[in-house]
C-alpha cells in the first residue's frame, strides 16, 4: 500500500509537469492550429538559462524568473521571426518548421554546453515528509503541485476575467471577425506563443531535477508524454490537457513502479496509440451539434 501511495504521488507530480507542458501545447494549438514540436527544445534552452544562472548566482528563484522571462521572449521571437512566415495552407509546413527549429535549438545548446548531462539541482532538501511513519512526499513534490496549480489558475483568470484574455480567445476562434472588431490578431498570436513558451519554461525547470539533469535532449521523453497528455485531453481543451497530463503521469509512474522504468517510453506510445484508436478527438473533445 505504501508503495502504491508513493508511486501515485510521484505520478501526480510528473503528471502536473506534463500538464503544464501540455497546456503550453494547447495554448499554441488553439491560437494558431500548430502543434509546436519545438516546445521541448525551447524548454531545454530556457532550462539551461535557468540552471546556469541559478548556479552562477546561487539563487534558484532568480534562475526560475529568468527562465520565465526568457520563455516569453523566445516564444514571441519564434512566432514573429519564424512561424509567422510559414504558409499554413498545408499543416505539414508548420510541423516541419517546428521540427527544424527543435533540431536547431538542441544542436546550438549541444555546441555551447556539450552533450554531457549536467546537474540541475532542486531548491529543497530531498528528504521526504513523513506522517504516521510513512514517507509521503518531498517538499519538491509540493513545490511542483503548487507551481503548476498557480500557473493553471493564473491562465484561467487571464483568459476568463481580462480584456486581453477575451481578445486572445476571440482571435483564436474567429480571427476575421475579431479583426473587424478592432482586435490585433497578429499581436494576440505573438502573445499566445510567448505565454505558451513561458509555461513550457516553467515545466522544463520543474522537470529537470526529477530526471537526469541538463542535456540537449533532456525534454524528449517529457515532450512525448506531454504531447500524449494534450492529445488525450483533446488538444483543444485547456482543462482536458491538465487532466490528460496528470493521467499520463500516473500511467507512466505505475508502469515504471510496477513493471520497469525502462518500459515507460513505450508505455507513452501505447497510451497515445490507444487514445487515437478509440477516440481520436481526445477524451475531452467537444462534440456539438451546429445549427446550419
Amino acid at each position: 500500500m505504501e508503495f502504491f501511495i508513493l508511486v501515485t504521488i510521484d505520478g501526480i507530480s510528473r503528471g502536473m509537469i506534463y500538464a503544464a507542458f501540455a497546456l503550453a501545447l494547447v495554448l499554441i494549438w488553439r491560437a494558431a492550429r500548430v502543434v509546436n514540436f519545438a516546445q521541448g527544445a525551447m524548454a531545454v534552452v530556457t532550462s539551461y538559462a535557468a540552471y546556469k544562472i541559478a548556479d552562477a548566482t546561487d539563487s534558484y528563484v532568480l534562475g526560475f524568473a529568468v527562465a520565465v522571462v526568457f520563455g516569453l521572449l523566445l516564444g514571441a521571437a519564434v512566432e514573429r521571426g519564424l512561424m509567422r512566415f510559414v504558409g499554413h495552407a498545408n499543416p505539414l509546413n508548420d510541423v516541419i518548421i517546428a521540427l527544424g527549429l527543435a533540431l536547431f535549438l538542441t544542436s546550438v545548446i549541444g555546441m555551447i554546453f556539450g552533450g554531457e548531462y549536467q546537474p540541475a539541482n532542486q531548491p529543497f532538501d530531498t528528504k521526504a515528509m513523513e506522517a504516521g511513519g510513512v514517507s509521503w512526499m518531498t517538499h519538491y513534490d509540493l513545490f511542483i503541485w503548487g507551481t503548476v496549480a498557480a500557473v493553471v489558475v493564473l491562465l484561467g483568470l487571464l483568459f476568463t476575467r481580462t480584456a486581453v484574455g477575451l481578445r486572445m480567445r476571440a482571435a483564436a476562434f474567429a480571427p476575421e471577425v475579431s479583426r473587424l472588431l478592432g482586435v490585433s490578431v497578429g499581436r494576440m498570436l505573438t502573445l499566445g506563443w510567448a505565454l505558451a513558451a513561458a509555461v513550457g519554461a516553467v515545466a522544463g525547470v520543474l522537470i529537470l531535477p526529477t530526471e537526469s539533469g541538463l542535456h540537449p535532449h533532456a525534454m524528449d521523453i517529457a515532450f512525448a508524454s506531454a504531447f500524449t497528455g494534450a492529445v488525450v485531453g483533446g488538444l483543444d481543451s485547456p482543462v482536458g490537457s491538465v487532466v490528460g497530463g496528470i493521467m499520463v503521469g500516473l500511467v507512466l509512474s505505475y508502469v515504471s513502479g510496477y513493471i520497469a522504468p525502462s518500459v515507460t517510453p513505450i508505455a507513452v506510445l501505447v497510451v497515445l496509440l490507444a487514445v487515437l484508436l478509440v477516440r481520436p478527438g481526445g477524451i475531452f473533445s467537444s462534440v456539438r451539434a451546429r445549427a446550419v
Binding site: 476571440a170 474567429a174 476575421e176 471577425v177 475579431s178 479583426r179 473587424l180 482586435v183 451546429r290 445549427a291
Partner: protein
C-alpha cells in the same frame, strides 16, 4: 411597405448631401480569380444603399474588399475623404466603420455577453460602451434573456441580432451588412430592416446593405446598386427600382 419621412431622397443630394464612402475603379479577387471588376460607387452620408444581384455577383466580395479582408488589386476606397488602403482591417472600427460579415458574425465559442463586450473592447469611453451594450439588450430582448449562452446555442435570428447589436456598440458611422436577413423568420428580418431605418433617421448612420431579399432591402433603401459578374450594372434611386417593373424585370428578375 412605403418609405416614410426623409427616406426618399433624390440621388446626388440625399442625407446630409456629403459623400461618406467613395469607391473608384475597384478590382479585387482571390488568387488568379478576379471577382470585382472596375467597381464605382458613391454612398452619401446618412443613407441606406442596397447592393443587389444574383449569387456570385460579387456583393460579398465588395464588402470584404471595402474593409480590406480582400486586398484590392486596383482602385481606391475613401471614407470621409480618407484613403482606407492606409489602414489595417483592425483599425477601421476605430474610424467608424463596422462590418457584419455574412453568417459568420458571432463568435460561437463565446457567450452573448462576451460577444458584446468584444464589440466595445477597443473603446476608450467605457461608460458609453456600457451604455451602448445596455441599449442593445433593450433593443434585442431575446439576447438579454440569453446573456450567458454560447454563440452556437443561439437560433439564427438571435445570432443575427447579436452580430448587428455588437456592431452598434462601436457607434459606427458606416455599417456594412452582409445578408442580415438570411435564414431569418420574416418578422425578425423586417425588425432588423426597421431598425436600420430608425438608426439612419435618428443618428445619421450610413448603411451599405447586401441583401438577397430584394423587396425588403428596397423597402428601406435610398439607393439601389445592382451588381452582375463583379460589375456594377446599375445604380439608381431605390424608389425607381421599386416602382419600375421594366427595370426590375431586366435587372432583378421579378
Amino acid at each position: 411597405m412605403s418609405v416614410t419621412g426623409n427616406g426618399v431622397k433624390p440621388a446626388g443630394s440625399p442625407g446630409t448631401g456629403e459623400e461618406a464612402l467613395s469607391v473608384e475603379n475597384l478590382s479585387s479577387g482571390y488568387g488568379l480569380v478576379q471577382v470585382l471588376r472596375d467597381v464605382n460607387l458613391s454612398v452619401p452620408a446618412g443613407t441606406i444603399t442596397a447592393v443587389l444581384g444574383a449569387n456570385g455577383a460579387g456583393k460579398t466580395t465588395l464588402l470584404r474588399t471595402l474593409t480590406g479582408l480582400v486586398k484590392p488589386t486596383a482602385g481606391r476606397v475613401t471614407f470621409e475623404g480618407t484613403d482606407l488602403r492606409a489602414f489595417k482591417v483592425e483599425e477601421l472600427v476605430r474610424r467608424g466603420i463596422a462590418h457584419v460579415p455574412e453568417g459568420r458574425g458571432v463568435v460561437e465559442e463565446l457567450t452573448v455577453d462576451e460577444n458584446l463586450r468584444l464589440g466595445g473592447l477597443w473603446r476608450k469611453d467605457r461608460a458609453d460602451a456600457q451604455k451602448a451594450t445596455d441599449e442593445v439588450y433593450e433593443l434585442f430582448e431575446p439576447l438579454a434573456r440569453r446573456r450567458g449562452h454560447l454563440g452556437h446555442q443561439l437560433s439564427g435570428g438571435e445570432r443575427q441580432m447579436l452580430a448587428v447589436g455588437r456592431a452598434l456598440i462601436a457607434r459606427p458611422k458606416l455599417l456594412l451588412l452582409d445578408e442580415p436577413s438570411l435564414g431569418l423568420a420574416p418578422k425578425v428580418a423586417s425588425q432588423i430592416m426597421a431598425l436600420l431605418k430608425t438608426l439612419r433617421d435618428s443618428t445619421g448612420l450610413t448603411v451599405l446593405l447586401v441583401e438577397q431579399n430584394v423587396r425588403s432591402a428596397l423597402s428601406i433603401a435610398d439607393q439601389g446598386v445592382v451588381m452582375s459578374l463583379g460589375r456594377v450594372v446599375m445604380s439608381t434611386e431605390a424608389a425607381t427600382l421599386r416602382d419600375d417593373v421594366g427595370l426590375r424585370h431586366a435587372y432583378l428578375g421579378f
